[in-house]
């Protein structure tokens, strides 16, 4: 089910290609990922659980959940949601759960060194890379996706904030503008951009940090070395515990956005949205724009968590929002056939007899995000569990520097927030790295200006959570001497 007409987006599909899945020919368009193309071709079961052999479908769409691992052109455990299709590509179901036979030793190795290494080219990472490069640093920007922009590439709505943060501009436009700035710096020789490349290990170093990365499909391994590193690795979608939560047709809200806004593929025909924060409200509206029906939005909290203006858009387009309601179970054979929603009392307990059967083929979870900070933890940074930040985070100071000197963090990896604040945090981290390198001695004013912008963006009631998170992180930082 491809979207052919869209009020905001134009899907200029690439040329048709054919690949094989389990020996069966599948038609797709150049530029689509394997998992997206399979979805469009009606393949909804991508893998099975190890123990009970339960079907698993497309969930996150950004390489974080592992339900779409397959063998591609002989390479095992490929995250097919991140690998673009190509003519005659051979895609096979995932390997059995044991270490696959695929020795790596004979493959190409490259060593790259830089002044600043940026891991992740989302809004925070690109802004960090641009900021550092503008100060004369040689930057290597690495991202595991086939394109830059992180989650901005699927944000079709106009951004809030002020003019400096490109308010009133759609996320997709901001992504294109940031990408162009980075590409310009790359053309000037100031920046090297590695896409399709995952950074997977931190190996310390004296005065310089060593990290390893791999481009799986090109079979190249990189050893990256830099005195400063910015970790802007984004976040991953939270799961919710209920029977049937692993059925194909239960998606993360971001996964649905990727399918419909990046690849123009409808997740299904009728959606139950779980969560009325900004993500749930915005994605519901975007589903309507893509021509998908939204049955309702359920929210466990007694009030709508997102902005009223987003809720108002949905209500006037006929989508009801049920606060103090949640999903009790999702049912279906090999994929979602419906869901039972239930009202919650003031103690968050299901009210007996309030169950309602919601006809839907898609359940979309918009129940928050968890920072992707695994690399930082492997590096051994001082960390803490900060609920307001979305989970375990690297403790950092006002310049976004962690407990390991020369390593910085920015965006959702430093605590879940908005793309607009991620961009400012990225600038701070990039500037922090430049200062660390001695390239930006007289940038005190710029730093203070970025910091006060961030503070202003967090001042209102909707910034309370981020404010609390950052306060706790700074407290923890001063305790730990970060």
């Amino acid at each position: 089910m491809r979207v052919h007409q869209h009020p905001i987006l134009q899907f200029d599909r690439g040329k048709k290609v054919q690949f094989s899945y389990n020996g069966r020919p599948i038609e797709a368009y150049e530029g689509e990922t394997v998992a997206a193309a399979l979805h469009a071709a009606g393949v909804h079961i991508l893998s099975h659980s190890v123990k009970f052999h339960r079907p698993r479908g497309f969930f996150c769409g950004i390489g974080k959940c592992s339900s779409c691992l397959m063998r591609v052109n002989g390479v095992p455990n490929v995250r097919t949601c991140m690998v673009p299709v190509s003519q005659d590509m051979e895609v096979e179901p995932p390997d059995p759960p044991r270490l696959p036979q695929a020795p790596f030793e004979e493959h190409r190795r490259e060593e790259l060194d830089a002044d600043v290494l940026v891991v992740g080219a989302g809004p925070a990472g690109i802004c960090a890379a641009i900021e550092a490069a503008r100060h004369g640093a040689r930057v290597v920007l690495v991202d595991e996706n086939p394109r830059m922009g992180g989650q901005l590439v699927k944000q079709t709505h106009k951004f809030f904030g002020s003019r400096e943060e490109r308010a009133g501009t759609r996320g997709i436009t901001i992504a294109a503008e940031l990408e162009e700035e980075a590409l310009q710096l790359a053309r000037e020789g100031q920046m090297t951009i590695l896409l399709d490349t995952s950074v997977f290990g931190y190996y310390g170093g004296h005065g310089s940090h060593r990290l390893t990365a791999v481009n799986k499909m090109a079979q190249v391994m990189y050893i990256l070395q830099a005195p400063t590193v910015v970790f802007s690795c984004g976040a991953q979608e939270n799961m919710l515990a209920f029977p049937g939560n692993d059925l194909p047709g239960v998606y993360g809200a971001g996964g649905v956005q990727t399918l419909m806004n990046v690849y123009g593929i409808m997740p299904g025909r009728r959606v139950l949205m779980v969560g009325a924060g900004n993500v749930g409200l915005i994605v519901s509206y975007q589903l309507l724009q893509a021509g998908v029906a939204v049955d309702r939005v359920v929210e466990a909290m007694p009030r709508i968590g997102g902005y009223h203006v987003h809720a108002a858009k949905l209500r006037r387009h006929g989508v009801p929002i049920y606060t103090s309601h949640s999903v009790k179970e999702v049912y279906g054979g090999d994929r979602v056939e419906g869901a039972i929603v239930v009202r919650l009392d003031e103690n968050w307990q299901p009210v007996k007899g309030s169950e309602e059967d919601v006809p839907c083929d898609t359940v979309c979870l918009a129940v928050g995000l968890t920072p992707s900070a695994q690399l930082l933890f492997q590096a051994g940074v001082h960390r803490a569990y900060i609920p307001e930040a979305g989970g375990h985070v690297a403790i950092h100071d006002q310049v976004m520097e962690t407990s390991i000197s020369g390593t910085f963090v920015a965006g959702d990896t430093s605590g879940i927030e908005e793309a607009s604040t991620a961009m400012v945090e990225g600038k701070i981290a990039g500037l922090g790295a430049a200062i660390h390198l001695g390239l930006a001695e007289d940038s005190r004013d710029a730093l203070i200006s970025y910091q006060s912008t961030l503070q202003a963006m967090r001042e209102g009631p909707f910034g309370a959570k981020a404010r609390a998170a950052k306060e706790k992180i700074l407290q923890e930082a001063s305790h730990a001497g970060v």
Partner: protein, 155 residues
């Protein structure tokens, strides 16, 4: 907790409404009542009719100063600004429209209120694309001018 935080629907009691004279001229009604960090409407207004104490405060419209140009309607990321005009027994609402199909001038469309209920039929009098957003003006019964906040267009 305010009712709209539960329902997602504002009542007109939450809004500071324009007077009859303002409505006769046609002014922008801003349905943005929460403290959210956003201010493109302030920047977009060519006559500085919209003010904000700080970036988190809700925008305040000076109906005396508003010239009804609709720049703010197109720029608002929350799609929360509507141009309303009631004059000589006729009414018009200008709203941002980000759905398909896009109606044409003269088309009959279904008028919808804040709760998504159909409240009547109206004729589209103007369709423009401004700042990357389609802005549609529809003639409505004058009594519905403060109610109609969306349209439904038959494919």
């Amino acid at each position: 907790m305010r009712e709209y935080e539960k329902t997602g629907v504002l009542s007109v009691d939450h809004l500071r409404l324009p007077s009859e004279e303002h409505l006769a001229r046609g002014v922008a009604v801003i349905e943005c009542v929460q403290d959210i960090p956003c201010n493109p409407c302030v920047d977009a207004c060519p006559v500085q009719a919209i003010s904000m104490e700080n970036i988190n405060a809700p925008p305040q419209m000076d109906y005396e100063a508003c010239i009804g140009c609709g720049q703010c309607v197109a720029v608002c990321p929350g799609l929360a600004i509507f141009l309303v005009k009631v004059d000589d027994g006729r009414g018009w609402v200008t709203l941002p429209y980000e759905m398909l199909p896009v109606p044409g001038q003269g088309d009959q469309v279904t008028l919808v209120n804040r709760e998504g209920e159909e409240v009547g039929r109206g004729t589209v009098t103007k369709v423009v694309k401004r700042r990357d957003t389609c802005v549609v003006t529809v003639e409505v019964p004058p009594a519905l001018a403060m109610q109609v906040r969306a349209i439904r267009v038959k494919p």
